[in-house]
Symmetry: C2
Subunit: 458 residues, 2 copies
C-alpha cells in the first residue's frame, strides 16, 4: 500500500480541486429548474469515471439518471472468481434555501478553517469522491484494482425517488454475482475523533390522523359540554399512545423489538455520550425517554412515537371561542429490528380507531414505512471496514447505530442479501440539509486512504 | 292596553320601514373605514328617540359614542317615586364578510319568507327597536309613559369595548336611583314557538399555553427517544385536564359549582330538547359530555374545558420528520355560578405548570375572564317579563339559560345590584354573526307588544 498512500498524499490538492468541480454543478434534484444541471452532473461524473479507466455509463430512468461504472482485476491469473463490491452514492443535492444564511455561495466551494463549505460537500459528493479517488490511486499505481468495483450513483436520493430501487430489483441476479457487499458513505462518524461503522438504522412508519367533530367550527358557549371537541379528543388519543415518561402504550408495539445485546451496551457505554452537552446545545430542560436505557441506547435501539405536527381550530392572534370542526396530527414512529413497518402500521391504525371516543370520527391515512436495518457486525466485510477506518483515520473505529432511516440500505440488504457497510466520513455537525454545509478536508483525505485500504483487503 | 295594541297594529308597516332605515346605516364598529357610519348611526338613533319625545343625547367616549335617552311619567300625581327601567341595546353591527355568501346585500334590508334579511336585523337593531316602538306606542296613545325609561345604547358591543362599562361605573349612583331593573333583548327565544327569559349565562376563562422543547425543530431520527416532543407533552397535559368522557380532572375545578335545583331540571326537561336533531344538524357521530346530565343541563349549567385551537410543528402537505420546537393550545373554559374566573384561572394555570413533564418548559398566559351570571327568577321583574312574553307572543314563556357569555350583563348586575331581564326576541337560527342574518318579522311585532306590556306593568 505504500505507493498507493504516497500517490494519495501527492495528489490530494488536485483531488480537492476536482471535488470542487463536481460540487460546482448545482444538481438539485427536487427543483425542476435544475433538471439540466442534474443531467450535466451525471455526465460529468460518468466522464470522470471513464477517464479513470472504468467502464462507465449513464442509465436513463423515469426520473433522474443513474451513473454506473465498473472496473476490476480482469487480469487476475487464478481461477477463483474475483470479489466484488458495490459502492453506492448519490450525485444529487438538497436545495440551497435559505440562501441568505450562507456565508459563501452554496455552489462556489470555499475552504475555511479546514472545512470545505458548499452544498453537497458532505452529502454526498465529498464522501462519494473518497471512493472514486481511492480507485484512481489503486489503478494509477498498480494498473489494476485488487477487487471488482461497481459504482452505482443515483440522482434521486434527496427526492426519495425509486428509480435505483427499481434498477436493483431488475438487475438483481447480475448485481448479486460474486458480491461481497455494498459500501455506502452517506452518513457520519461518531464524532470528529472517532470513525465508525453504522451497523443499525431505525425504520419508520408514518400516518396522518384527522379527528372530526361538528361539520363546521361551532360556538363554544352554545355547544360547549354538548358537542365533543376534536382537539381534546385528539389529545386524549395521543395520551393513550405514549405516556409522559416515554413509554409507548399501544398493546403489542414492543413485541418484536430485538433487545440490545450486552456487547452493544458495553460498546455504547464506552463512547461516553455527553448528556449535559446535548441539553445545553438544544436548550433542553431535561432529556426524555424510557427508563433503564442510556441516551445512545434510546436514540439508536429503541422505537419512538412522535407527533411531527399538530393543528386544528383557531391558530391566529387572540381568542376565538369555537369548538373546532377538526384536529389533525402527523405521526411518525421510528422502528428498530425486528419490527415490521406493515405490521406496526396496521397495529397502530387499528388501535387509534379503537380508542377514538364515540362522539367524534377518526380518519387515519394508510401507513407508509421503511424497515429497520441491523447488519451482523461479525460479517468479514464489517471487520475489514473497521480495520480500514483504523488505518485511514489512525484511530480505533466504533460500532454505532443511527436513529434515522436510509431507505436504500434496506433495498440493498433485502434484494442482494449481502452485508451493507455504512462507513460515514461526515460529521453530524456538517449541516447536511442546512445552510453552510461543509466537509472536513482532512476527512476527505483520510476517507480516500480508508477506501483504498478497504478495496485492497476485501 | 287596547289602544296601545291597536296603535302597534296600525303602524307596524311604518315601524318596519323605520327599522330598515336604521339598518341601512352600516355601523360596523370593528372596521375604522366605517367610523363615520357608526357616528351617523348614533346620530340617527339620538334624533329618532328625541322625535319620540325623549330627552336624548350622545355621550362621547374614548371609543364609539353611547346614545342615552330618557323619558317617564313626570306628570305622576302621587308621591311614590316613579319606577325606572334601563333598556340596554347596541347600535353597532358585525362586519359583513364573507360578502359573496349573502343572498341580498347586507345593508339593503329585504323581506323574504317572513324574515327581514340584513346585517344587524336581529343583532341588535331589530330587537332594540321593539322597545323603542313600544315606547312610541305608549307615548302616542297616552301622552306619557307608565314608568321611567332610560335607554343606554352602545356602539362597541361587537368590539368588546369598555366605554359603556366605564360609564355605568361612573354614573352608578344616578343610574341606580329608583331602578327596578335592566332589560336586554340581545339574545334568543328557546325556539320559534317558545319565548323565554334567559336567567343564566356562563362565564369564561381564557388562556394560552405554549410547551417548549428543543430550541429549534430537530430531526426525529437523530433525536427521537432522547429529546422530548412538546406536542406529545401537550397532549398528555390536556388529557390530564379533561377525560375523554367530559369530566374536568383539575382538582378543585368543580368546588364552587352551584348544583341545579329540582325546578330547573324539571323546567329543562319540559322543553324536550331534540338530541337527534342536533346530531343531524352538525353531522355528529354522537353527543358529548358528563354523565347524569341532560343536553340542556350540560349546555347551560355545567362548566367546560375547550381547546379552541392547537398548533405546533409541521402542518403542510406530506411528512416532515421533526420533533417540533413548540406546541401551543388556546384554551377557554365556560364557568357557571358560583365559579370565579380569577380563582379558576389561577387554579388551572398552577395545575398546568405543576403537571408539565420535566423535559419541556411550559408558558401559560395570564388568564382573562368574565363572571357567570345567574338571575333570581323570583324577582318581580322576571315575573312581569314572563307574563309580558305570554301576552306579546300568545305563548307560555320558558325559563332558560344561555351557554355563552354577555359581559355587559355582569357589569349591570354587579354595579347596580338589580335584576337584569334578558328577553330575547331573536332565534338561534337567525345567523347573528353570519351571512344572511335575519329577524322574523312577526317576532318584531310581537316584541313591540311584549315590551309595551312590560313597561305598563313593571
Amino acid at each position: 500500500m505504500r505507493e498507493v498512500l504516497e500517490y494519495i498524499e501527492q495528489n490530494q490538492q488536485r483531488f480537492l480541486e476536482e471535488l470542487k468541480d463536481f460540487i460546482r454543478i448545482p444538481s438539485v434534484s427536487a427543483q425542476s429548474a435544475h433538471d439540466t444541471d442534474v443531467q450535466k452532473c451525471a455526465t460529468w461524473l460518468k466522464d470522470h469515471l471513464k477517464n479513470l479507466g472504468l467502464h462507465a455509463e449513464i442509465i436513463e430512468t423515469k426520473g433522474h439518471p443513474i451513473v454506473r461504472a465498473q472496473g476490476g482485476n480482469s487480469n487476475s491469473q487464478n481461477d477463483t472468481p474475483p470479489k466484488r463490491l458495490i459502492i453506492y452514492g448519490h450525485y444529487d443535492v438538497q436545495p440551497d434555501d435559505p440562501l441568505d444564511q450562507w456565508k459563501s455561495p452554496p455552489f462556489e466551494p470555499e475552504i475555511r478553517d479546514g472545512f470545505l463549505y458548499a452544498r453537497g460537500a458532505t452529502d454526498d459528493k465529498g464522501q462519494l469522491f473518497c471512493h472514486i479517488k481511492a480507485v484512481e490511486a489503486l489503478l494509477r499505481t498498480r494498473g489494476k484494482l485488487p477487487c471488482e468495483v461497481l459504482f452505482l450513483v443515483e440522482g434521486e436520493e434527496e427526492t426519495n425517488g425509486d428509480s435505483l430501487a427499481d434498477y436493483i430489483r431488475q438487475q438483481k441476479p447480475e448485481l448479486a454475482q460474486n458480491l461481497s457487499g455494498v459500501v455506502i458513505s452517506d452518513c457520519s462518524m461518531y464524532d470528529e475523533n472517532t470513525p465508525a461503522i453504522t451497523y443499525g438504522l431505525r425504520g419508520i412508519v408514518a400516518m396522518e390522523v384527522q379527528v372530526k367533530g361538528p361539520i363546521k367550527d361551532v360556538h363554544s358557549g352554545t355547544y360547549g359540554g354538548v358537542v365533543g371537541n376534536p382537539a381534546t379528543a385528539l389529545a386524549n388519543i395521543i395520551a393513550q399512545c405514549i405516556s409522559a415518561d416515554g413509554r409507548i402504550l399501544i398493546p403489542g408495539f414492543y413485541d418484536d423489538v430485538r433487545q440490545l445485546e450486552d456487547f452493544e451496551r458495553d460498546n455504547y457505554a464506552k463512547l461516553n455520550f455527553d448528556d449535559q452537552n446535548l441539553k445545553k446545545e438544544l436548550s433542553l430542560r431535561g432529556l426524555f425517554g424510557e427508563r433503564n436505557f442510556t441516551t445512545l441506547e434510546r436514540a439508536w435501539a429503541r422505537p419512538t412515537f412522535e407527533i411531527n405536527g399538530i393543528f386544528g381550530g383557531y391558530t391566529g392572534q387572540g381568542n376565538k371561542t369555537i369548538i373546532p370542526a377538526t384536529a389533525n396530527a402527523k405521526i411518525t414512529m421510528r422502528l428498530v429490528a425486528d419490527q415490521d413497518p406493515k405490521k406496526i402500521g396496521k397495529l397502530v391504525k387499528d388501535y387509534l380507531q379503537a380508542i377514538c371516543p364515540d362522539y367524534v370520527n377518526i380518519q387515519v391515512s394508510e401507513p407508509t414505512g421503511e424497515k429497520p436495518v441491523l447488519i451482523d457486525i461479525h460479517d468479514s466485510l464489517v471487520q475489514v471496514g473497521m480495520e480500514a477506518l483504523k488505518q485511514g483515520f489512525e484511530q480505533d473505529a466504533a460500532y454505532i447505530r443511527c436513529g434515522g432511516s436510509i431507505p436504500v440500505v434496506d433495498t440493498f440488504w433485502r434484494e442482494l442479501q449481502k452485508c451493507v457497510l455504512l462507513m460515514g466520513f461526515g460529521l453530524d455537525t456538517d449541516g447536511a440539509h442546512s445552510p453552510n454545509e461543509r466537509f472536513r478536508v482532512q476527512s476527505f483525505f483520510k476517507g480516500i486512504k480508508t477506501s483504498a485500504w478497504l478495496l485492497d483487503n476485501v
